[in-house]
Symmetry: C2
Subunit: 103 residues, 2 copies
């Protein structure tokens, strides 16, 4: 029975995504329903607008989140999870169950 002696790159990549500050909470927050920039910010008040904006761009690039600019006045932006993002959120439920039991 061999012991693996190097990490799978997919495993490394997923922890690289989740290892950035606030990412987990943002995805958790979007699992309920799509939300606007200021709504996410209201749910996670300690997350600054600067970093929130940065995280949303990264999550969009990763195909986890979809940005929908609504040409209303004032302009609104709605963020929603893609299929990929929704499945990520579902897999994070296991982690949250662990938290509920152990923290």
């Amino acid at each position: 029975m061999e012991i693996e002696n190097k990490l799978c790159s997919k495993v490394e990549e997923c922890y690289h995504i989740l290892g950035k500050k606030w990412v987990g909470l943002v995805i958790h927050t979007l699992m309920e329903e799509p939300k606007r920039f200021s709504e996410i910010h209201a749910f996670i008040p300690n997350l600054s607008k600067r970093v929130l904006n940065e995280r949303m761009k990264e999550l969009e690039e990763n195909g986890i989140v979809l940005r929908n600019v609504i040409a209303d006045r004032p302009v609104r932006t709605e963020y929603s999870l893609t299929k990929k993002g929704t499945e990520l959120g579902r897999s994070l439920k296991a982690l949250e169950n662990w938290a509920d039991k152990w923290l």
Copy 2:
């Protein structure tokens, strides 16, 4: 049907733990079997000794990891997952399955 308007502190806390760099990979690495300091370092070469040591102290304080100093010469230190840590590792499997499918 109410929409939750604030985050559960347990949820916040678990993402606070997992949101620190390298934590996920360290737990993943220890799921196989207990490992010494230098073995973890060999599995995750980009993780510096300074930060590895810091992370292990934090994980020990969180009750996720157990540090066992072996009074051999030279002194060795073996890190293993507690029950709490093992269950965390199991819950992270869902995330890794997501990674395998989507990344």
